[in-house]
Symmetry: D2
Subunit: 309 residues, 4 copies
């Protein structure tokens, strides 16, 4: 496929998405996020040869929210390796992303690092030995380095908004603490968690960030090849909460979504893709973002399950 074709495909997808009547519902449980228009849509793709193509609102900043669970996982995996799995599992969840009940059934061990409870645990692990400010600094450095872009910031208003209204996350943190699966006071771990969820990025920045997961030679070498495989595997089986099976079936690309409407999708060796549209489906994943990735995967045969790669 010529590069021109890819750009045209992105423009076509962009136009198709604009024509959709059902754009999902913008997350309303974080007041700051509820202000964004569901009509926004952006997409950006980085290729192995270093080229990048974009369409739509690809330079608009959005709140990465749960996409930041990839950041914490990458850092925690680098620091703790398989020791990580003593405190969190690797299995998909059949419950909602902020479910408490499965945490009770599993005696305080979250099913995987991509549900809220699991990311609270990885956050708690990378907090060890540092202050919250230092930990957030380390995360920002990691993200900026991977994205080769220093203009990536945290929106304090979003973090503050969630600190006040995020009762389910407070419940999860206290619940983890009751099983002694948090080492720091709940408010400290939650503080870091709410702030890294509030990192703002554009599609272009996020696609750039994902290059190390696609294994591109021009990407900064931040994570071992083994850990890259591990992160991609977890994105495939757990990246879309209780809609992960559906996403794997329709799209076939490892990916992680956030309630801000962003999705980071990685086609190993071939492409790092970021898409954003704030309207969500009932599992809490971007409705148009998912559709766009399905269209992209179908039209280019970009699926890890396709022989034609």
């Amino acid at each position: 496929m010529s590069k021109t074709d890819l750009h045209q495909t992105l423009l076509d997808i962009c136009a198709d998405m604009a024509g959709c009547n059902d754009k999902g519902a913008v997350a309303n449980y974080i007041p700051e996020l509820a202000k964004v228009s569901p009509d926004r849509f952006g997409i950006s793709v980085c290729l192995a040869d270093g080229q990048q193509f974009s369409a739509g609102d690809a330079t608009a900043r959005f709140s990465v929210q749960s996409v930041s669970k990839v950041f914490t996982l990458a850092i925690a995996l680098g620091r703790y390796g398989d020791g990580l799995w003593r405190r969190v599992g690797r299995e998909p969840s059949t419950h909602e992303f902020n479910s408490v009940q499965e945490l009770e059934l599993r005696k305080g061990i979250p099913p995987n690092p991509f549900v809220n409870a699991g990311a609270l645990v990885t956050t708690d692990m990378i907090l060890a030995g540092s202050t919250p400010a230092e930990t957030l600094g380390e995360m920002l450095r990691f993200v900026r380095q991977a994205a080769s872009d220093d203009d990536i910031l945290i929106d304090p208003a979003v973090a503050a908004s969630e600190t006040i209204t995020g009762h389910k996350n407070w419940a999860l943190a206290h619940f983890l603490a009751s099983f002694k699966n948090l080492e720091h006071p709940c408010e400290r771990t939650l503080g870091v968690y709410f702030h890294h969820c509030a990192i703002e990025m554009t599609c272009e920045q996020l696609a750039h960030f994902g290059r190390f997961l696609a294994g591109f030679s021009h990407s900064p070498s931040l994570v071992s090849r083994d850990n890259v495989r591990s992160i991609n595997a977890l994105m495939m089986t757990c990246g879309h909460y209780n809609g992960s099976g559906e996403f794997a079936y329709r799209v076939g690309i490892p990916a992680k979504s956030g309630v801000g409407g962003g999705i980071l999708a990685i086609l190993p060796g071939k492409a790092s893709i970021a898409v954003w549209s704030p309207g969500l489906n009932k599992q809490g994943n971007s409705l148009l973002g998912t559709r766009a990735l399905e269209a992209l995967s179908k039209s280019l045969e970009w699926s890890v399950f396709d022989s034609g790669r």
Copy 2:
């Protein structure tokens, strides 16, 4: 990699597996299967160029059991397309392979076609308009054609053994019937189900069978490219029951296991792999089979999540 290397890798894996102390527990709830020695181990790999390499007990017949869920899914998907998903879901299960409780929570819609309840539904669907004998005949023809081998048979003793002792499957069938998600009498659907589970194959036959899922050009064209992608996706997210996340993480190859100890694993465009060892881990998947696939994936970087493919 040269072909000689692949053969040597298989021989090495074979030797490593023989040296393992813990070989898992042979399924004891089907009396006929309990007779097999846990020391058996075989592996076979078909490549895109048509070559096949094997090691160990690769020509010994074993009971495919739940690997046959791939057969019923392939046939049902071909016949009903997306209509299939009205009666069965596409999400991983966090319960045991024969769990009843999640069927109750989901009001009679099994989570996916690779747990027992889901395969009962796909079996029921391909029974429509045919007698049990005709349906089993169709399945055998499909399997033989895909494997390019007519010497594939059903072991009636295994089928009879399970008919008598398979109380959980009887419970699942009646439960599905209570939700009107079986169209045929329980004993008829179960009869076909128990018989296709009792198909016997060797690793060499099963690896040969899998070529169409790997998308090899020399494979009989039995299923559309779209459906191949769909089946591979489901094998990745749901192929190992409540151990699917762990398998994706460790191995990174779409695969389906059976309690007979067999696993069919598909690396799209590159390899169709069959492995067999009857001892099971606690999720009901072949213990050595899983380890062997992990070793193969690691040493050859055969993971769909690796950029190096």
Copy 3:
């Protein structure tokens, strides 16, 4: 209170019930039961002094269904004593009366003898050493003796109807068998179960039957005083499935309901009450029957939780 007052109270309740618009829904999963009119209503009360008062359709026969769980419990408790509790629990259930999921969570031990799975176990226990015909004969003798009335029979059409359509009960039986908590073949235990559920009685007969549970001196002595207390306690905490708490709160009298619309209620030392109306509430208990008992309890201060007794 004079006896005339009690009769008048029953007549008043009868009139009030006839005026209710919502009479609930007749059980439709047993075809034979679906034929009964929801307008039917009968009530009968036996007092400690031997007098009996009735109103409405108190001499119409209805299918006792789950009220027969009291019969099997009484016989099993007499034969096995506390040994019974090795195979069934004594806790209320928060699920539906034919729930499979809690059976899975509890590894094949039903929560109590008044949900279907629990009654299958008590039925299985009293089957030991006898043929189905002998066991049913024993049960009928027990019921007739307690009721001092030989004109109590099984309706074979209802039993046959449920044998064909009772998929959930078949599922429960096979599920119990898979946990080795049935000693007889499923079809044998279910055969006895479906038949004792199909016993037909009138309100007058059922109120007469309950005298031994009320501890009346003129009642045949069939069960020890300890066991009477035990049965009444279980009726209070478990007698109305997942509506038992509500019933205890509103009525305050130990009672057991059946999907045929009958309820047996026991005020120890004071009254044995039977009420029947075939329309059910969403927990599967007689809607008007429950209301009638609430009215009776309120107007006469007939609650075990009231100090005025």
Copy 4:
């Protein structure tokens, strides 16, 4: 029975309990409570004629903990009547007393007012329009008036201890808040909750307190007769968490336990009983306290399910 006999029965029970080897485990999740010796045992009984008999450590103060759920229920029921049931249910729970999962299944409506989540809701309701100090003042006045004793206080060390370590209660409160089933900030409702759990009473005071629930004419008239029946009914079906069925079966008296080891038991019209021993069984109810009440009920035929009353 003569009064002398009752006293002798209490002394006998006291001696029997002292001889038990297994005295249960003192609650260790509240550090302050973990300090009490499991050898302590006290019992006290108030009769309808105004007499009171006691044995053992009946004048030792203990932390009432969940027995205070009766206080909040009584006040809330008096203030809101049936309006209370819009925010909390009336069914027994099959989970632990501090379970979060059933709260998720029930969408934020606790199963009953006697599990922690339910008592948080009743506490939140009686907080309406008052400061925490005023609400606690009202509760203390209610308890002192019912007990005809002003020497009843809150132990601030216990309240402080639980505020710091009670992560599950914090989780429950935030979870309720996420479903908008708390009207006040979590810390405020929890503050009142932790403090009323920390009320200290002796067995003699608690038995005296219970007189209004037994309907004694010499008791202060604090609650309507209807509400007394309601509270007793809830104590019977829900008073011992997921051990309520077992307690009803063995003891047959409406009762409410606390993790401090106290139990208040009410035999309507006949007796108000308080027992205390700090060692708990696995459901979190006093082990010796339960045994003592069973012995009392058996020897005096004090069960609401017995005809002999």
